[in-house]
Each structure stands twice: as structure tokens, then as C-alpha cells.
């Protein structure tokens, strides 16, 4: 009987069966990977995990109050230290993303070497460390408020149009920048309280970033659209990065640059922000301030033959925005959009003015090509 099922491996019958087996195997493997592409991957930032990982119901640990840094609870929204209690768990520690139960909390202040996330790192501006206030936004709890005139956002204009309503009429002298709310960046800026401004965002289904709610806005920046890199750009690559939204027509409020413009009004040319006269417009003459939210195709003199034509491959050092960002763009072209974050980090950086590079070392005609300003201004990097 045994001999009956033994097959000669050199027989045509064996060869046919071998080919069928290989075909079916390849078909199965292909189907598996095709399935991975079709089925949406759960990469949304909706917090998953145990309630207790982030919240303390009564701010009571062994009968004593919750503490964060030098502060004693209770903290808002029953958190264990407020925004920074979760997103700044160990400012001097070397971990840029901290597991919290099933969730991962990006750290906005940490000391991980080469670990800065897309927005940078408040470490560079924190009073506890460098205390260099030119290197980041002076957010309450991290840095003290700057002295005048930097106690208000440079370029601030009151009562501008913002998602959900109108921005503050004025920026009071004693009002320090906060993470969220009217005096911050995240959440609903029509709501003053930072925590109310963020209400529910971490628990919202954000699998679709449509900017309609705080929870479904890019990085909880109300109204902003984009694609969120799942590791907050830690170890990002030129084809897997944040996807920033831009709008060279300045007809929407859903761009990352418009968000910056809500406070730094005079630095954005949007009609809604009224900054056109201050920045200049592309078609009518010279810029008086560096433009933002414009595409290379609209530069004075045209894109063809311009120095911007030589910015070809996406640069993580000087990223660009897109009208419909995917985060997988590898190429830069005429329709790529210059944005505030092309030059700046949002939180903090090792460089003055929260720049992505050392402005003082940018030397025309002698700089390192494709770095810093010269990433876009390619001709100015040419060595004459």
C-alpha cells in the first residue's frame, strides 16, 4: 500500500501538482496582502485602553492627591496631571512616545536624542532646561510668559474668522499661551477653557479626518485637515510622513497655515485674516513678508525655470503641503504648497524662532545645498 502513494518526483504528474501548489500558494499570499490594502487599518488616534490609565476619578492615590511635577491635583477632566501629565510624563526622560495602556502618548517634551516629533520638542524652550524662549512657544506649565512685546503672538490681530466663530478681540497682556482653547492652538479656539475646548476629542472616532469636530481634526486642531503619521513623524520617511493641507487660493480655513495665521495674522495672506496687505500678494509685486500657503506654481515669474523647480523630492527638513495630502507624497512639484511648517516647528526646536534649521548658518552662495532655506531656494545655494 505504501508503495502505491509514492510518486516519482521526476514524473510529469508530480511536476503538474507542484506547479499547482506553487500557484495556489502565491494566490493565497497575494490575497492576504491585497486584503491588508483593502481593509482599513486601525491607525486612528482615538484613545484605546483602560480608563484608569489616563484618569483618576477622585484625584486620590493612597489617600493623597495626584501630583504632576510640582503641582498637586485635582487636575481638570480627572486627568493625571492635565495635558502635560500625559504628554509630558517625564520631561528629562528619553522617551518620545510613551505607552499608556493600549494607547501611545506622544511626548511634547522629552530628552530623547534624535527623537523630536514632527512639532519639535518643548524641551528647548522649557524653563527647567534651556529656558531659551526664542526656541519655542511659551506654553503655560513649561515656560513662563515672555516679556513684552513677545507676551502676545507676533503679528496678532483681533477678531479674525476662525473655525467655529471669531478669535479673541485682543490678546490680554497677562494671558499666557496654553495648549488648547482660545489662548492656544489645539481644540476649539472659540472656547476659552483649554479642557472644555478639547472635550471628547481623545475619545472621538477620528478614522476620518474631516475637520468637522475637534476629534476629527488633524491633531485635534479644529478645522484643520491632513493625514496624521502614526508615529508623529518619529522615524518618518520621505514617502510616509504627516500630510499637511494647504490652500493657495486662501479660500478655506482648513489648512495648517491658516491655523498659525489665527494668531500670527499678519504673516498669512488670507483675506479672512486680512494679512494680504502685510504679506503682499503673489501677482502684484514684491513680498513684504515671507509668503505662506502658496504653491510654487504661483510664484512671481512662473514656476518653469524657477529655483523651486529644483525642489524635487519631499524633504522632511522643509516639508510642503498639498491640496489633498496623503502623507505618502514623495515628489514635490509646481502644485506643492509652501506653509508655515515648511520653516518652523510648532512646539519647539533647537533653533531660534522655532525654525527647523539654524538661520544664522544659512549662507547664500556658500551653504549646503538642499538644506534649510536652500531646500526651496535652490539657486541661492549654488556655489558661484
Amino acid at each position: 500500500m505504501t508503495a502505491g502513494i509514492i510518486m516519482n518526483i521526476s514524473s510529469p504528474r508530480f511536476e503538474r501538482r507542484r506547479r499547482i501548489a506553487v500557484f495556489l500558494s502565491l494566490l493565497g499570499i497575494s490575497a492576504f496582502f491585497l486584503g491588508l490594502l483593502i481593509i482599513p487599518s486601525p491607525v486612528d488616534a482615538r484613545v484605546q485602553g483602560r480608563c484608569k490609565d489616563c484618569h483618576s476619578m477622585h484625584s486620590s492615590k493612597e489617600g493623597s492627591a495626584e501630583t504632576y511635577g510640582g503641582l498637586s491635583g485635582p487636575f481638570p477632566v480627572l486627568t493625571e496631571g492635565g495635558c502635560l501629565g500625559c504628554h509630558g510624563q517625564n520631561p528629562s526622560g528619553g522617551q518620545n512616545i510613551v505607552p499608556v495602556g493600549l494607547a501611545r502618548a506622544p511626548q511634547v517634551i522629552h530628552n530623547q536624542k534624535n527623537g523630536d516629533l514632527a512639532a519639535g520638542n518643548f524641551y528647548y524652550v522649557a524653563d527647567a532646561f534651556t529656558g531659551d524662549h526664542s526656541k519655542g512657544h511659551n506654553v503655560m506649565g513649561i515656560s513662563r510668559q515672555e516679556n513684552p512685546p513677545m507676551d502676545t503672538p507676533p503679528g496678532f490681530v483681533g477678531s479674525v474668522l476662525i473655525p467655529g466663530g471669531t478669535g479673541p478681540t485682543r490678546w490680554p497682556e497677562n494671558k499666557q499661551l496654553s495648549c488648547a482653547g482660545t489662548w492656544g492652538c489645539h481644540g476649539n479656539r472659540t472656547i476659552e477653557d483649554p479642557y472644555k475646548a478639547m472635550a471628547g476629542a481623545h475619545h472621538a472616532d477620528d478614522s476620518v479626518i474631516d475637520g468637522m469636530t475637534v476629534g476629527t481634526s488633524y491633531r485635534y486642531l479644529l478645522g484643520v485637515k491632513g493625514r496624521e503619521h502614526q508615529n508623529w513623524e518619529y522615524l518618518a520617511t520621505i514617502d510616509d510622513h504627516n500630510g499637511y493641507k494647504g490652500d493657495p487660493t486662501h479660500s478655506s480655513m482648513d489648512t495648517i497655515s491658516y491655523l498659525c495665521g489665527q494668531c500670527h495674522v499678519k504673516f498669512h495672506a488670507s483675506r479672512e485674516l486680512g494679512g494680504g496687505g502685510s504679506v503682499g500678494t503673489v501677482y502684484t509685486g514684491l513680498w513684504t513678508r515671507h509668503p505662506s500657503d502658496i504653491s510654487f506654481s504661483t510664484v512671481h515669474g512662473g514656476y518653469a525655470g524657477s529655483e523651486y523647480e529644483r525642489y524635487i523630492t519631499y524633504s522632511l527638513e522643509a516639508p510642503v503641503a498639498y491640496v489633498n495630502p496623503t502623507g505618502n507624497e514623495k515628489s514635490v512639484g509646481a502644485e506643492s504648497i509652501l506653509m508655515c511648517l515648511s520653516c518652523h516647528r510648532a512646539h519647539g526646536s533647537p533653533h531660534a524662532d522655532i525654525l527647523r534649521w539654524d538661520y544664522a548658518s544659512m549662507v547664500v552662495g556658500a551653504g549646503v545645498p538642499k538644506t534649510g532655506c536652500l531646500t526651496c531656494h535652490t539657486k541661492k545655494g549654488d556655489h558661484f
Binding site: R50, M57, S59, G63, P76, L78
Partner: protein, 354 residues
């Protein structure tokens, strides 16, 4: 001894006579054979001095002794009287509304119940003081004495008159007093003998005839806001606006606030949706009970977001539970953003599954 026996007989006969006259009244007033309760344990009573009343020898243990059971039944019969069991030696099969001290009695952990004297030693972590205790928020004239153990009643306990330090005296006579109507005017007429103090009205509510045993949406205690006030006697920091907040964002989990009728709370108890004929109504879940603004006329399975009240007891058991912090559920297993349900997610419906 003869004189004491005669007195006891007279009292018992009187009780039995009253019982016969008023056998239809739904009352928790204890009736029946005296010795069943008062002489069941050897050495329970001191030999009375001449012309003196008998006295308990083990006053501090009498509550626990009577309301305990060596087994897993949570309602026991003593002399024909049903006695709620708060402390079982075995895992209780159907714990009562207050939970069961079984969970805090041995090596299960201090955090699974109130560490009442006679059941468990003082909580080492808290050093004897109730977490969040604020003397100014404790209406007791005596106040909580953290050098003394937590008791069932009195100033260091929950039941009885908290103006009285002696746990025994704080409930003295209550089991034999008229306890209807349940209007909070006396200890006996307070919900579960929870009197607070002499000057304050006792706790109001509707007492389930089975003390919450096998409770369901249609059979359960009915609580009111006054229950929260009692908890705040000792856990004052966890109650009231000073440390909790007035409105969102809360700094501590709010209690004694109306369950909102907006947002995720409008879908309270999503596992049991009401019939379409009951708009605006949700179905009561004894795993996360709510209180009523007023004592209702009858037990109801309806929960009205926008009217009903979040309680301390919405999350906690008063005596003990299998879970840390004497919670009604395992906080460690409550997950947000996944497919979780129950526990916190009974109210926080938006934080559960997609």
C-alpha cells in the same frame, strides 16, 4: 437572673402582641423571639447588676455578629426574622445592594471595601483616615477620629446617629422602633438606619424588601441625593464644588449632579434600549444605579437623563465588592475605544465600542 428573664419575657410578649395587631405593615421593625438575637452567642450579655438592665458584653461586635453568616447566603433567618447579611465567610452568591464585607475581610485587599472593625484591620495605606475627609464637611459634632477604627455606626461609621461616638448607642433601639414612614425624622425612619446627625434629616429612599438581593431594573432600592450627602460626611473632598468643580471640566468625578440628557449620557444603559413607546426614557441598570430628585412613589425601571442623579453609589458599593475601590465593576477591565461595555460605559456610552 430571674428578674432579667422576666423583663425579657415581658418585652417579647409585647412585641408579639404588636405583631399580631399589625401584621400587614411593611416594616423593617424587628419582631420575634428576643433570645434569638440577644442571647444567641455565649457571653454576649453581661450578668446584670441588681436592679440594672442587662448589657451587651461585646457591643462593638454585635452588629457584625448578627449580620454575618458562615456560608454564602446573604439573607438569613433568625427566629423567623429575615436578617440581611453584610459579611459572609464564603463568597456570597447574591450580594445585597451594599455589597459584602467578605471581599475586604481576608487577604483580598484593603481596597475592596470599608475596613470595618470586627471584619478587617484598618487600611494601612490611608492611615485610618477616610480619603478626602474634610472636618468642616462632616456634620457630626464628634467628627471622624482617625485613631479609632471605622465602625458600622456612630461618628466613625455610617449608620445611626453620627453625633454619637459609641457605635452601639448610635443605633440603640432602632431595630425595635417604629420605622415608617421613612421620612428621615429618626434613625429608624431613615433609609437603612442612615441617620447622619440629630440636626439633619436622615437618608431618604425606598428600601427594597430584599435589600437589593437579586436586584434588577424593576426591583431595587430607590436612592435620593441624600445618600451622596452621607458619603460626603467622610469623603467631603469628593463631593461639592470646591474640589470637584462646578461644571465641566470636572476636577474629580462629579456626584450629586443630574445625569445629562445630552451627549453620550442620553443613551444611558445602551445594552437595554427602551421600547419606542417610552421616549426620553432609559432602562435602569442596577450595575450603575441613579438617584431620584424626590423619593418616588414606587420603584421604577425608568431612568430619565436630565432629571435623575449621579450617585456615589452609581459606581461604588457601600460595604464591599470584589473590585478595587469597592467599585461595582472591575475598573481594570473597563476599556475605552474598543468593544467594551458595562461599568463606566453604562453612562459614558460614547467611550465604548464603535
Amino acid at each position: 437572673m430571674k428578674r432579667w428573664g422576666a423583663k425579657l419575657a415581658i418585652v417579647c410578649l409585647s412585641v408579639l402582641a404588636l405583631t399580631a395587631l399589625d401584621s400587614q405593615k411593611s416594616s423593617a421593625k424587628v419582631e420575634g423571639d428576643c433570645e434569638v438575637c440577644h442571647a444567641i452567642y455565649p457571653g454576649m450579655m453581661d450578668e446584670p447588676a441588681p436592679r440594672k438592665d442587662p448589657r451587651y458584653a461585646l457591643k462593638n461586635a454585635v452588629c457584625v455578629n448578627c449580620h454575618s453568616f458562615a456560608g454564602n447566603e446573604t439573607v438569613k433567618i433568625l427566629g423567623g426574622v429575615r436578617v440581611p447579611v453584610v459579611f459572609n465567610t464564603d463568597l456570597p452568591v447574591s450580594p445585597l445592594a451594599g455589597g459584602n464585607f467578605y471581599h475586604v475581610s481576608r487577604v483580598f485587599g484593603d481596597r475592596k471595601g470599608h475596613n470595618v472593625e470586627g471584619i478587617s484591620a484598618a487600611d494601612q495605606g490611608f492611615g485610618g483616615a477616610p480619603p478626602g475627609y474634610e472636618r468642616t464637611k462632616d456634620p457630626s459634632m464628634v467628627g471622624f477620629n482617625s485613631t479609632k477604627p471605622l465602625a458600622c455606626s456612630g461618628s466613625n461609621g455610617c449608620h445611626g446617629n453620627r453625633d454619637i461616638e459609641d457605635p452601639f448607642r448610635a443605633v440603640l433601639g432602632t431595630h425595635h422602633a417604629e420605622d415608617l414612614p421613612l421620612d428621615g425624622s429618626t434613625t429608624a425612619k431613615s433609609f437603612r438606619y442612615l441617620r447622619i446627625t440629630e440636626k439633619e434629616k436622615g437618608i431618604l429612599g425606598l428600601e427594597d424588601a430584599d435589600w437589593g438581593r437579586n436586584e434588577s431594573s424593576v426591583k431595587h432600592n430607590e436612592y435620593t441625593s441624600s445618600m451622596n450627602a452621607l458619603c460626603a460626611n467622610c469623603h467631603g473632598d469628593f463631593h461639592g464644588p470646591a474640589r470637584t468643580g462646578i461644571v465641566s471640566p470636572w476636577f474629580r468625578h462629579p456626584t450629586d449632579v443630574v445625569l445629562p440628557k445630552t451627549g453620550e449620557y442620553a443613551a444611558y444603559n445602551p445594552a437595554s434600549p427602551p421600547s419606542p413607546e417610552r421616549p426620553g426614557i432609559r432602562i435602569y441598570n442596577p450595575d450603575a444605579p441613579v438617584g431620584r430628585a424626590e423619593v418616588p412613589g414606587a420603584v421604577s425601571d425608568a431612568v430619565k437623563p436630565g432629571e435623575d442623579i449621579v450617585l456615589c453609589l452609581s459606581c461604588h458599593r457601600a460595604h464591599g465588592s470584589p473590585y478595587a475601590a469597592s467599585l461595582r465593576w472591575d475598573y481594570d477591565s473597563i476599556f475605552t475605544g474598543g468593544n467594551g461595555k458595562g461599568g463606566c460605559l453604562i453612562c459614558h456610552t460614547g467611550k465604548g465600542g464603535r
